[in-house]
Each structure stands twice: as C-alpha cells, then as structure tokens.
C-alpha cells in the first residue's frame, strides 16, 4: 500500500472486497509493460547513480571525464564539504512541514467539519485549496520574490510598524526560503488531512462532549488521533519534496541559504563533478527512505507503506 492510497478510498473502503483471482498469468501480463518501464527508467538510473557516485577522474583527462571505480572516498569528501547544506535542507524541510501542518489543519478542519453538509461551499473551498496547482509553481515563487522584494509595500509596511528594522529585508533570507517551501507544499498537506477529517464520524465528537470532555479535550483525544493518517500522509508529501527542492532557495534565498538540491545541480552542470553530485543524491535518497520508514513505524500507521 502506498502513502497516498491509504488516505483515499483505499482498499477496505469499498462496498465489498474485490474478487481475488488466482490465475497469475494475467497479473504478470498487466504488470509487465509498466514495471518494465519503471525498471528501465527508475531502477537502472538509480543503479547508474550509485555507479557514478564511485567514479574517479580519468588520469590526465579533461574536466567531466570519469572512469568506473570503487572510490568510496567520494562520499566522505562530498559529506565533509557539503554537510552544512545537507543539514540545512532537512532543517528547512522540517520547519516548513511543521508550519504547513499548523496552517493546513484549520483549513482542512473548516472545509471538512464546519462546512459539512453544505455541498457547494465545501466544493468551492476545496477549489480554493487546489487553485495553486493551476498556476505554474515557478511563477508563484517568482511572485513571492516580488511581493517580498525590498521596494515592495509589504516590506515598507513592516518597516513602518517596526516589525522589520529600517534596513531589514525579507528576500534573500532563510525566512523567505522556508516561507516559500511552506507555501508551495501547503495543498499537499491540506488535502490528505481534509480526506481523513471528512471521514470522521461527528457522532464520535458528540460522544466526547456527552462524556463531559470540553472542546479542546475532545479535539486532542478524539478528532486529532482519528485524523492522524491524513497528518502522516500530509507531512510526508510535504517533507520529501521540500528537502530536495532548490527552486525556493535559488529564487528566494542567498548564498547562505543553499540547499542540497542546488549543490547537486551545480556540481552536475557548472563544474561537471558527476561523482560528487551522484554521491550527494544517494545520501539524500537513503536518508529520506530511513527517515520515512522510521516515521511511519513510529506513528503506528504501518499500513501506509
């Protein structure tokens, strides 16, 4: 089961279990083309990435010429140089994920619980949540860059009320990068939480009240635990892409906010240092897989994986 299947009408949610067929040939026939494709364009490239991460430069060769080897030192060298960017990526992604959770939960709650039964209102609010998907995310990030620019009225207003010092700025700060990440992945957080709150039986909340729990207690003891599958999916759908993103840090940050994706990109394209770029990618992928597995285990929603 995937993260995402679990939040929708996953198996078990349908009217009755689908018939299970024993004939296996059919299954393999249906799977073959798609899985072959994933093998060719996902598994093989990941193996190529692993191989590239161990290459050494061709002796006396030009820049960008490498030969197969088992140079494990590529990893220690890459990490020794770029650990700050790696740590920063995870830190930014974590903060952005928490911020998105705090912002998205009330939105999802209002749509799923407060607007329950009002079909039209609910539909329109959902359309607002997904509206950002309809504009290019690069265009939206550029829009933030311009909204937060030094000469913009947002900055002028914040300086006027002393929220910012007179020479303070919003662009080219880590605040802008994290705000951009939070913004870009907000719908990915909102929709799964909405989906699990939507399925919440209001009678359970009423039962909490009947047992003399006050509003906050009912929320912490009933509503929140029941919406945990949505929270888990939402945090994963935000954290994973955010940790590898570099569009926000390029457009909204400066050279002290560099994230690991940016390093991989520039190692590949600016200096043709393929082994370092590949090693950093491998480290990022492995770190995320470990984090995701640990997180899903801990949160007790193992059916997600």
């Amino acid at each position: 089961m995937s993260i995402v299947a679990a939040l929708g009408h996953g198996p078990g949610n349908g009217p009755a279990p689908a018939p299970v067929r024993r004939a296996r040939g059919g299954a393999y026939l249906l799977l073959a083309p798609g899985l072959a494709y994933l093998g060719l364009f996902f598994v093989v490239p990941v193996v190529a990435l692993l191989a590239t991460s161990l290459y050494v430069p061709v002796p006396g060769g030009d820049v960008g010429q490498f030969q197969p080897a088992f140079e494990w030192a590529n990893y220690t060298r890459a990490l020794a140089t770029y650990w700050p960017q790696m740590v920063r990526s995870f830190a930014y992604a974590l903060i952005a994920t928490l911020a998105a959770l705090v912002i998205a939960y009330p939105m999802a709650y209002v749509i799923a619980v407060r607007a329950r039964g009002r079909v039209f209102l609910q539909g329109m609010l959902l359309v607002l949540v997904i509206a950002p998907f309809f504009t290019s995310f690069i265009l939206r990030t550029v829009a933030w860059k311009q909204i937060l620019a030094d000469e913009s009225f947002v900055v002028a207003a914040m300086r006027a009320v002393s929220l910012l010092p007179p020479d303070g700025r919003l662009t080219a700060t880590s605040f802008a990068v994290v705000a951009g990440l939070t913004y870009n992945f907000l719908p990915f957080m909102t929709l799964p939480i909405y989906a699990s709150l939507e399925r919440l039986d209001p009678r359970l909340v009423e039962a909490g009240a009947d047992l003399y729990a006050n509003g906050p207690t009912t929320f912490w003891r009933v509503t929140l635990p029941l919406s945990m599958p949505g929270v888990v999916s939402g945090t994963l759908l935000t954290f994973i892409p955010a940790s590898g993103d570099y569009v926000n840090s390029v457009l909204l940050g400066n050279n002290t906010t560099t994230m690991i994706g940016q390093v991989v990109d520039s190692r590949f394209f600016k200096v043709s240092d393929y082994p370092t770029a590949a090693a950093l990618s491998v480290v990022l992928m492995v770190a995320i897989l470990l984090l995701v597995t640990a997180y899903v285990r801990r949160s007790g929603t193992e059916e997600l994986l």
Partner: protein, 292 residues
C-alpha cells in the same frame, strides 16, 4: 472529476463529500458560543489568503504595461493578452510543454492503469515488490530522480532533449496514475461483474461492458493529474532537457533578468481554464445531487 484531489490520491470521486457519514451538524442546540467557533474560521481565512496572494499577483501583473522587466507596476494594459506570443520563446516553450504533457499523459495513464488493475484484482507472488517499485519513485525527491536519469543518459551517451524529457515524465507520472486508479478499482462493487457473468458474458465482455466504463472517471482523473504533474515539472526537466525548453524552465531561466508579462498571461490563462473546468464539474455534480 477533480485533478487536484486526485493529485494526492484522495480518490477519483471529486471534491464532493465522499464517504463520510452524513449527520448534518456538529453544533449542538443550545451550546454556548465558544471562542474557537470564530478563531478557527478566521485562521483558515488567513490561510486561504496566503494561498491566493501570489496567484492574484501573477494575474494582476499579466495586465502590467511592463516594458522590459515586469517588476514594478507601470499601468494597466491589455496589450499582453492581445499578443501572448509577443515575447521571444514564450509560445515555443508552452508548445513544448503541451507536447511533452500530452505524450507523457497518454503513455503513463495506459501503463499505470494496467498496473493498478493487476495490483487490486490479483494476488500473486512478487506483489509486495511491485507495490514497492510503484511507491519508491513517489518517495524519492525530484532532484535525485533527475540526477539518476541524467547519470544514466550520460553513461549511455544519449543527448538530453525532447525524448529524454518525455521518458522522465512518463516515469514519475506512472506511480501517481497507479495510486489514483487503484483507489477507483478498489471501490468497485464486485457484484456488478458477477452479475454480468450470471448473464452469460465472457470475462472479456464483462470487463469492457461493465468494469471499464465504471473505471473511466478514475482513469480520467489520473490522466488529468499526470498532465498537471508533467506540465508543472521543473527540477527533473531541468536535469534532462539539455537545450530543450519547457514553460516552467523558461520562467525559471528568465527569472534572473525579468519575466516577460506574456508568461503571466499564459499562467493566468491556464489558471482560468483549469478553474472553469473544475468549477463547472462542481456545479454539474451539485445540480445532479439536487435532482436526486
């Protein structure tokens, strides 16, 4: 059908209230007014504002009489909308994105639908492995997918361009198609197919006459999702495109020296089209529910 709910695999049924038990209200009669009643919606309203500000900005600046760089408001004009291809390369990039998007959508929807059918309908050896293979691309950051594909293309000495971009887009779309269609297949009532069998239809006929028509909404949702993922992709494209330019890449590259207002026009037009599509689907489904 809403592409967007489907985007995270919430299910192909669209934004209407889905499977939740429908008890009309949570506010009980006579309960005293609480602070939370106002605070939560207020907070949500602010969040919606946050979500929509950059979109409003993008649309507004498509009407800017911009000159060379579209950074400062210089006055209202319709000239950009009258001539959306006015800036060099904008429409070429848009055309490339549409081409890639259509091919990637068709191929990934076909491959993904077959996988989804196999995963829900059959129990077979290697099923867990197949699930894992579908799940992994979704839980890998784009920069890693892009770097891996580029490493492969470099070692095969394939020149990056249109072909490599399409190959990459099909790859990352497949998993999302599988998840979306799988949800739909799992929600089908197996008794319908049994009924077809009772009426002497062959399994093949039962599939095409009964199952497939019921799957169409899910498949369409998956296709819409695949298209929007492909159309908006930047990072993977940037790694595997060489000198080939898509619309997001065009915007990113021109961001340093100022984005032409025509890019805002195209972004706003796509926004309007998608909004129109989703809102009309929404209205139709509300009207249908009322009629029942």
């Amino acid at each position: 059908m809403s592409a967007p709910t489907a985007r995270v695999g919430v299910g192909p049924v669209g934004p209407g209230p889905a499977s939740g038990p429908r008890v009309p209200t949570t506010r009980r009669q006579g309960r005293p007014w609480r602070l939370g009643d106002a605070v939560v919606p207020l907070f949500a309203a602010l969040a919606f504002l946050y979500l929509l500000v950059p979109i409003a900005y993008t649309v507004a600046f498509s009407f800017n009489d911009a000159g060379r760089s579209n950074l400062v408001w210089r006055g209202f004009t319709l000239a950009n909308w009258a001539n959306p291809c006015g800036a060099p390369q904008v429409c070429e990039a848009l055309g490339n994105s549409l081409k890639v998007g259509v091919i990637a959508t068709v191929v990934s929807t076909a491959l993904g639908t077959l996988i989804a059918l196999a995963l829900v309908r059959y129990r077979f050896r290697g099923r867990a492995l197949a699930n894992l293979l579908v799940f992994l691309p979704m839980s890998t950051p784009e920069v890693v997918l892009g770097a891996a594909l580029l490493a492969q293309f470099l070692s095969l000495r394939v020149n990056p361009g249109f072909g490599t971009v399409v190959a990459a887009h099909v790859m990352f779309c497949i998993s999302f198609v599988v998840v979306t269609v799988k949800a739909r297949v799992a929600s089908l009532d197996p008794r319908l197919e049994e009924a077809a069998a009772d009426l002497y239809s062959s399994p093949w006929q039962a599939f095409w006459r009964v199952t497939f028509p019921l799957l169409v909404p899910g498949i369409l949702a998956a296709a819409l999702l695949a298209f929007s993922l492909s159309f908006d992709d930047f990072i993977i494209t940037n790694f595997n495109s060489g000198s080939f330019t898509t619309f997001p890449k065009f915007v990113y590259v021109s961001a340093t020296r100022g984005i032409p207002p025509q890019a805002n026009v195209i972004g706003s037009a796509m926004f309007a089209l998608a909004l129109l599509l989703v809102v009309s689907v929404q209205l139709v489904s509300v009207a249908r529910r009322r009629r029942r």
